[in-house]
Symmetry: C2
DNA sequence: CATTTTTTGATTTACGTACATCAGAAATCT
DNA sequence: AGATTTCTGATGTACGTAAATCAAAAAATG
């Protein structure tokens, strides 16, 4: 049997009220007594029963998710996952608010964060855009004692408590490794399509991709990055121009969300299947492209997992409880035509 | 606010005791009254507060894991994951027993299951070996109302309630797809090293592998399966003989646990890096082989995830609660040299 | 109709914690 | 020393459910 507050009170020779005061850091206890009680707590290895505590407090966890709006399918999937989680709110004692902000817009993101009333907030999860204003907004929340978690794209060294998402450098390395091996020492050029170099995940993927390309696949020349702002039209146009301009393009790494445009550009030129493409995020279009042989591989992160993980992490941080690390590591999924779920 | 038993009692015009009797299927309530109360429960959308109920009952979940013993590194990892979970027992209200049985031994497994006292058992998770005796033992547990879950290797159509593990056909297909693309239309032979065709996961992986090989990579000839019983020495000897006998072996799919033996056989002949190898399970040896370029890819299932999932599933089944499906889907991890964690 | 059996209500205790109140003890100050 | 402030104890209520007891009411039985 695990020890209870009663056991502590008895062993420390104090009343239940005093134990409660110590446990919940309420004032009105002599330092000396606090120490004695804390020693007993440690010696008994007491851990509060969170379920009982939450019951007594009628605890709910008010959480906020901030996600970029727009046509980006992955973000829409993330939003759906948040709604999904919301349906479990009564069981999980959460109260989830979802905010959407214009993509790649530091001011809007910072503004949304600053607009949050900090009162009783148990956690904030945001898809981060790199900027000083956003860092300041995160710092404000942190100062107010609100656990902040970054989602999908990190903001390292900011005062976020945790990052929920894949290792994007590793994702880029994986993409390069797959592409390089699929092209097995055939010479040629490789193009990279990104959304924007303002979001960290894209920067990191590119970094990882370049690392491996340069080190292992010297037969391939990596062309300058195309920034399609994660919009289908822009991506189609830019990729089209590149394809018309360059000769010997044998591979493309699409590390952002412009997949629909990319597919159109390839199809329009009858290059589908002739160029090896590795893309990110298993959206409907990407899935179709895989099945059709337009994409060779898709690297994915599971939005449902990420949202559930973010919720677990925010609750744990709010409660000051340990995380099960392995459980919160978001993994890189690799899909080929033959392992589509 | 979600409705409580008090709300039900009030609205149904009965006492709390009667509500309790209905909710917990105790006798002593007229059929007519039961109906009325149940209607109110449905109309209010009442859901019992599991945390409060477990608190009142001082509920613990006695669980049993049955895992094959022996040198199989993956199974040892699984065992470690169970011990890890055990450390969280007090928080998760579990009481976990771990049994090990000789591998590939139907009788031993069935015996272990039959030896379990069913009293109050909240769930059993086993790594299944295909056999009528095992099916019977599973049926006995099911009859006694104990939720049974298969782990890693399934026993479909038996009375297990859930399977926790990867889709092994998809894994085999993935392996074939990777191997085929890495060898990009080079002609040659491909060998398959399995543990035993008595365990379903190995059978299914082979099936998926053959499907894709036959359909997409006709340039490659798949050699008859080598059964190494997941033992290093046997695997080394059998693979060695195969390598000495066959010419033009360009790829190997190791779908079982004989990786150490496989690596030795390749090294001894200086074939490391010359033959593309796709293997299963990211053990220490496999990791090293990946880093050294002996293995091209490793397909993995995360033992920690599987154990945690099995526990969640058994608890949910014992409580008659819905699962979050997406959360319990075990994913196929693909590791290349460049995305090793 | 009386008797037995079944059903129901009322009430209480428990689970482990949170939190509030009030009185009394101990320490600190004047 | 008396007054004030700071601690501490005792006690009770609450959270939502489980479970037990006993009495009363209703129904079924003879």
């Amino acid at each position: 049997m695990r020890p209870t507050v009663h056991d502590i009170a008895e062993k420390a020779g104090v009343s239940l009220a005093t134990v409660d005061r110590v446990l919940n850091r309420r004032k009105g206890v002599r330092a000396e007594t606090v120490l004695r009680v804390e020693q007993v707590i440690a010696s008994l290895g007491y851990q509060r029963d969170l379920a009982a505590a939450n019951l007594a407090k009628s605890r709910v966890y008010p959480l906020v998710f901030v996600v970029p709006e727009g046509e980006n399918s992955f973000m829409r999937g993330l939003e759906m996952a948040v709604h999904e989680a919301r349906r479990r709110s009564s069981v999980e004692r959460t109260d989830i608010k979802l905010l959407t902000v214009p993509p790649f817009d530091e001011g809007a993101l910072a503004g949304a964060l600053d607009g949050l009333s900090v009162e009783g907030l148990a956690g904030v999860a945001l898809v981060a855009t790199e900027s000083p204003a956003v860092r300041r907004s995160v710092a404000r929340l942190a100062d107010a004692g609100v656990p902040v978690v970054t989602l999908v794209s990190d903001l390292p060294s900011a005062r976020r408590r945790h990052y929920v998402g894949i290792d994007n450098v590793a994702a880029g390395r994986t993409a390069a490794s797959l592409l390089g091996r699929f092209l097995s020492h055939r010479p040629g050029k490789v193009a990279v399509l990104a959304g924007s170099m303002l979001v960290r995940d894209h920067v990191e993927r590119r970094l990882g991709f370049d690392q491996v390309m340069r080190a292992e696949f010297t037969n391939l020349e990596v062309l300058p990055v195309i920034e399609g702002r994660d919009e289908a039209e822009a991506a189609e146009r830019l990729v089209g121009e590149m394809l018309d301009r360059e000769r010997d393009v044998v591979g493309i790494y699409s590390l952002g969300a412009g997949n629909r445009g990319l597919i159109s550009a390839l199809m329009a030129r009858g290059l589908n299947g002739k160029i090896e493409v590795v893309a990110h995020e298993l959206t409907d279009h990407a899935r179709q492209a895989l099945a059709d042989g337009v994409f060779a591989a898709v690297i994915n992160q599971d939005a449902g997992h990420e949202v559930r993980s973010a919720i677990r992490v925010m609750k744990a941080l709010a409660d000051g409880v340990d995380l099960v690390d392995g459980q919160e590591r978001i993994r890189i999924d690799i899909f080929l035509r033959d392992n589509l779920p």
